[in-house]
Amino acid sequence: MGHVNGHSLPRALAVLVETGWWSATNDRLRLNVPPVERDTRLIALDVPGMIAETQALMDARAQGAGAAFGLVADGERLEGLLDISQAIVIAVNHEEQALALDYSLDAAPRVLATADRAEGVRWIEVAPRVEEFLEAVARASA
């Protein structure tokens, strides 16, 4: 429990997943994250969902769709692209937009969100730490 893609979920998020606050069925959760120009709402994933969606992105990159989703892997570091081997997808919508934890810079991950740019999908930092991000979501959902 709490391990995805070789990384531990931050304790704050793990607790919120465990209590059902961070879940697809919590209608009070408001995941309004500015870079995501969404038409459908972002859905908070439980641990099996995080595993499935993270794996889906790894598969997409392996099958040649890395550029479409702004992905790199295996330690490659490029501004605006996500190293999926160092990440966990934590929320996603039907339009293939997402929030992810990025462990490539630090064991305490930052939170990134997809943004549609002219050059394709880019991953933008929305919070330097998960705790700050969750605090902002909690305020918006109150």
């Binding site: 038409d39 099996p48 794996q55 997409a60 339009e95």
Partner: protein, 385 residues
């Protein structure tokens, strides 16, 4: 003289046998210490330009052995290979157990062998008996394919485990399947294929056959139900399982040989449930598959969905499986959202299928075509969101 010649020949023959035995024993020791060498034929080690080239070949062979070991470990951990498939493991474990547990282990091993015997026998018998009733074609197909699938999996497991042994006596106590066993499986598969033509046509033709298989899947034990599910899915050209653990089929909305009426299905879903869609602009064909964890039945019963990332790729694959190849420039991704009370909403982004367009969105000029195609097929009020 004759006696001397006979004695001499006998002596030379015995000496030769001893030499061969010594070489065999040495090779066994060598393979035990260096399993990679067992992957190399004599022809493999001759004709190399240099020692470095030979070293590379040996390294590659060693990699093959490691891969086979990795694959075996993964399949043991995932439960794909059960402990009773490895006689040497059972034999080495037994003496370490207290006597009552040894008896229990023996009993479990007998039960496992009995289960495998009756499983194979029952499936084969049912396949033969039901073959006399043409109307039950899909059932025969399911049983036949399930039977071949189970035998194939057992055989592949044994191949994997015997490969991982690296030559010599297999440490797991598993022998490689004989050529006879492989040939017999081929015959079983060929007989099944010969009998499935009418059944596949029945499946492609409509929902009656598909629902027959659905019922069949439900009536089977879990393991067989999963196989029957696979048969249903494969024959009907739908998408593979993805995210959830249940063994149900993924709900698929489409205008290409639909098996279910959208109106009958969507009413059972909670409002807001979503389906990742793909549209072929050249033919007007479309398909949408249930996606994501928020797509749920009102009853709370578990269902299968595809991942949301890659959901459009799954939809595209499903459409190609049903309607044939589709050019990349004809493929458009969209999302169908169930809004309740006979209403559907459509959104237009897809990272997978629309990345050639600004904001990954379907261009305006194609949206109404998609909207009308879905409205026509479902009978629902469809609006762009």
């Amino acid at each position: 003289m004759w006696w001397f010649l006979y004695g001499s020949a006998e002596y030379m023959s015995r000496l030769r046998r001893q030499q061969m035995d010594a070489v065999d024993a040495s090779m066994l020791l060598l393979h035990e210490g260096f399993p990679a060498l067992s992957q190399l034929d004599p022809a493999d080690v001759s004709g190399f330009e240099s020692d470095a080239a030979l070293g590379e070949a040996a390294e590659e062979a060693f990699g093959d052995v490691l891969l086979a070991i990795d694959d075996t470990i993964r399949r043991i951990h995932s439960g794909d290979i059960g402990p009773f498939d490895m006689p040497a493991v059972v034999a080495s474990t037994r003496p370490q157990l207290p006597p009552p547990l040894q008896d229990l282990l023996d009993e479990m091993q007998r039960d496992e062998l009995a289960w495998e015997f009756w499983r194979d026998t029952t499936l084969t018998a049912a396949q033969i008996i039901l073959a006399f009733f043409p109307i039950l074609g899909p059932v025969v197909l399911a049983l036949g394919v399930a039977n071949v699938a189970i035998q194939t999996e057992d055989l592949l497991d044994r191949l994997t485990m015997s490969d991982a042994g690296g030559g010599g006596e297999n440490p797991l106590g598993v022998d490689e399947p004989t050529a006879f066993e492989q040939a017999m499986l081929g015959v079983a598969a060929a007989l099944t294929v010969a009998g499935v033509g009418p059944a596949v046509r029945a499946l492609r033709g409509g929902g009656r056959a598909a629902s027959t298989l659905d019922e069949l899947a439900e009536s089977f034990p879990d393991e067989l139900g999963a196989y029957a599910d696979d048969v249903t899915r494969g024959a009907a050209g739908t998408v593979p399982r993805a995210t959830t653990s249940a063994t149900r089929e993924i709900t698929t909305l489409t205008n290409v040989s639909p098996e279910i009426l959208a109106a009958e299905v969507l009413e059972q879903y909670v409002t807001g449930s979503g389906f990742s869609g793909a549209y072929n602009a050249a033919t007007g064909d479309w398909i949408a598959v249930a996606s994501g964890p928020a797509t749920r039945l009102q009853s709370g019963a578990p269902i299968e969905t595809v991942a949301q990332f890659g959901g459009h790729a799954a939809a595209r694959s499903a459409l190609v499986a049903r309607a044939g190849e589709m050019l990349p420039e004809d493929a458009f991704g969209f999302v169908v959202l169930w809004r309740g009370e006979g209403k559907l909403g459509l959104t237009w982004r897809s990272g997978t299928l629309n990345s050639r367009f600004p904001r990954n969105a379907v261009p305006d000029e194609y949206r109404d075509r998609i909207r009308q195609a879905i409205a026509r097929e479902t009978g629902f009020t469809v609006t762009a969101e």
